[in-house]
């Protein structure tokens, strides 16, 4: 494999709050390669979106601060880059589809205006060319009657349509890396499959690298090449998609895979990892997963396990990684 287009190293992000510092992201590392898809999995609140916002330079500082690490894109560290460089990278270098499409779109402008303004400013397109391209992009993300709806406002579209408009905006400038935060959660399975196909097509055409943040394990199984799993702000496991689905090397990943509901069954009670995720202010000592882990040992309550290699391309942050990996625990 060649060098990654985007490389995040030892990234930590904190939020100052009344109750103390929320350590939302802790020493996270990621590598994004051209033409490949990295899926970022993890419980709600584990720091996936904050990691993405840090890469995009979208964190409000304060209350947020990046307390360690670097984000290298084509030789530039985006953490220390000046505003002008940063602005240039956003959109063309790294673009993002936001989890929260309604608040990411500007409610006072029509969607057509929002897409064409981007093209006019960044691509110096004429008003009419930009508008035509906006309709084309809306068609590409399968907005029915795009030419007629280009002058509608965001609130006039359904949740799923807004999400597709976000995707149109994100790919408008052919970015080198696309970070897609829950791009298909609000979409039904058929449109979801079409959108994932569209994104894969863009990947093939432009060698775009993709970070896919999603809770949908079915989508991960269909499109991801590599998977990184987060828990309580840290990376707990990494591997190729096939291997990780077959042998999880961390109890959290194993619990997640086991919680997956299936279309071919009607269980009265769904299996769930017991307990609740830790508060971001007061993370447990030792392994953050220990209060919910069914195989925890004394060591887990006192010592934080490091992220260590367990087999080629596989890492896990668990004291019992070897036992979990080969099914002995």
């Amino acid at each position: 494999m060649n060098a990654p287009i985007l490389r995040v190293d030892d990234l930590s992000v904190e939020f100052a709050t009344r109750e103390g510092a929320v350590r939302a992201v802790r020493n996270v590392g990621l590598e994004v390669f051209a033409g490949r898809t990295l899926a970022l999995l993890g419980e709600s609140g584990s720091g996936k979106s904050v990691t993405a916002q840090a890469i995009m330079g979208l964190l409000d500082t304060p209350p947020a601060s990046i307390t360690s690490g670097s984000i290298m894109f084509e030789g530039t560290d985006l953490v220390t880059a000046v505003e002008r460089v940063r602005r240039q990278v956003n959109g063309e270098g790294v673009a993002m589809v936001f989890q929260d499409a309604l608040s990411a779109l500007n409610p006072v402008y029509t969607v057509g205006h929002q897409i064409s303004e981007l093209l006019r400013v960044r691509r110096k397109m004429s008003r009419s060319a930009a508008r035509a391209r906006a309709v084309e992009l809306m068609e590409r993300v399968r907005i029915p009657a795009a030419a007629r709806r280009v002058d509608d406002y965001p609130h006039q579209f359904s949740g799923g349509m807004r999400q597709r408009i976000m995707i149109a905006l994100a790919v408008a400038l052919n970015p080198r890396v696309l970070i897609a935060d829950e791009p298909t959660t609000a979409l039904d399975v058929t449109v979801q499959a079409q959108i994932m196909e569209l994104l894969t097509e863009l990947q093939r055409e432009n060698g775009m690298g993709m970070v896919l943040i999603t809770h949908d394990l079915g989508v991960v199984a269909e499109v991801a090449d590599d998977v990184t799993v987060m828990y309580a702000g840290r990376i707990v496991e990494r591997g190729s998609v096939e291997e990780l689905f077959e042998h999880a090397a961390h109890p959290y990943t194993r619990g997640l895979l086991r919680s997956m509901p299936r279309t071919d069954r009607e269980d009265d009670e769904l299996w769930a990892i017991p307990g609740a995720p830790p508060s971001p202010v007061l993370t447990p000592k030792g392994c953050a997963f220990h209060p919910r882990c069914d195989i925890a040992i004394d060591l887990c309550r006192s010592e934080q396990p490091g992220l260590e290699v367990i087999a080629a391309g596989r890492t896990s942050a668990c004291h019992l990684r070897a036992e979990v990996f080969d099914g002995r625990a």
Partner: protein, 338 residues
């Protein structure tokens, strides 16, 4: 099953939104978001609603609870027309029929603490509970949904997505409703939290006799929680039946297409796995196709499909109704994950 006690009746419900033509066009039309939907919901029952993005599910949900008004048709809660009710009846209805909104990010006011968010329903309906008993009730609610009562003075952003969604559920349950309309209540949650929320909703249903209209894109979650399932396409219900019938013997070509598109959670072998995907794009809800609205994408369409609109009626089994001139009879071979 004994006699069903009907709590909610949706009768020929229509909601159209007027839209303007382009700048140069004088033509005006209407988005036919919900176009003639009818069903009944019994006490303690769950009706799952699935369908393409933009087919009208949220509009249906909002209209059921009275956040939006129908263009025509009726919603009755225990016989009382939700949109014609006034005075005491309206207040009683507002209290008994609640909604959990699709978006956990924008549906909770970020400037209010959990305490504010959960006491607000009692301020709107002060007669439900005297002021001095409200705090203990709020703590009870937090406990019911599995949130720590010590976190009362936190703001929504200080909770994870799953916890925020539970705040939304606690709020919907505050006034002890009888019907809860859940619009995508779990889609923002990781599968483990999702399972916890689904289990919670089912437990509350058993304990309190709640009825749910449960809207979701995740077909597996819908199968687990629903008694009956309604499949919508472009503003209409195309199939409605017992969950097992709908999932194992889907009769409408759209239902089959939907189930066949469910991704298989098994990465190995994906390259050789052909997923049959629905061809074509969803038609415009402003001028939907004549006859059967699915005909532009239906592999089985005949000329009659363009001429006559199929009505929803009992097909090969009384356990399901289907709106198709040529309903399928065979069981579905492949189910996601099978």
């Amino acid at each position: 099953m004994g006699e069903r006690e009907i709590v909610l009746e949706v009768d020929s419900l229509v909601r159209h939104f007027p839209v303007g033509g382009g700048l140069l066009s004088r033509r005006r039309g209407a988005v036919q978001a919900v176009d003639g939907v009818s069903f009944t919901l019994g006490r303690g029952e769950t009706l799952g609603v699935v369908g393409e993005s933009g087919c009208g599910k949220s509009t249906l949900a909002r209209t059921i609870v009275g956040l939006d008004s129908p263009t025509s048709g009726h919603v009755r809660y225990r016989g009382v027309d939700v949109h014609a009710a006034s005075g005491r009846e309206l207040r009683a209805m507002r209290r008994s029929v609640q909604i959990v909104l699709q978006d956990p990010y924008t549906s909770l006011n970020p400037r209010k603490t959990v305490r504010d968010l959960l006491t607000q329903p009692f301020e709107i309906h002060p007669d439900v509970l005297p002021r001095d008993r409200r705090l203990s009730r709020v703590k009870e609610l937090l406990d019911v949904v599995g949130l720590n009562p010590d976190h009362l003075d936190r703001y929504p952003f200080q909770f994870s997505g799953g916890q925020r969604q539970r705040i939304g559920i606690a709020r919907a349950l505050a006034l002890e409703p009888e019907v809860v309309v859940c619009d995508e209540p779990v889609s923002a949650l990781d599968v483990s939290v999702q399972a916890q929320v689904v289990n919670l909703l089912r437990r509350l249903q058993r304990e309190l006799g709640l009825s749910y209209v449960f809207i979701a894109h995740d077909l597996s979650v819908v199968r687990h929680i629903s008694d009956r399932v309604a499949v919508m396409y472009l503003g209409k219900v195309v199939e409605l039946g017992d969950r097992r019938e709908v999932y194992e013997r889907p009769q409408h070509p759209y239902t089959r297409a939907l189930l066949e598109a469910v991704p298989v959670p098994e990465p190995r072998g994906r390259a050789s796995r052909a997923r049959t995907l629905l061809a074509g794009d969803p038609p415009s809800p402003v001028d939907p196709p004549s006859g059967c609205r699915f005909r532009t994408r239906c592999p089985k369409a005949q000329s009659v499909c363009a001429e006559t609109e199929p009505v929803l009626r009992i097909g090969s089994t009384p356990a399901a109704e289907v709106a198709c001139h040529f309903p399928e009879q065979t069981p579905l071979a492949r189910l996601g994950g099978a």
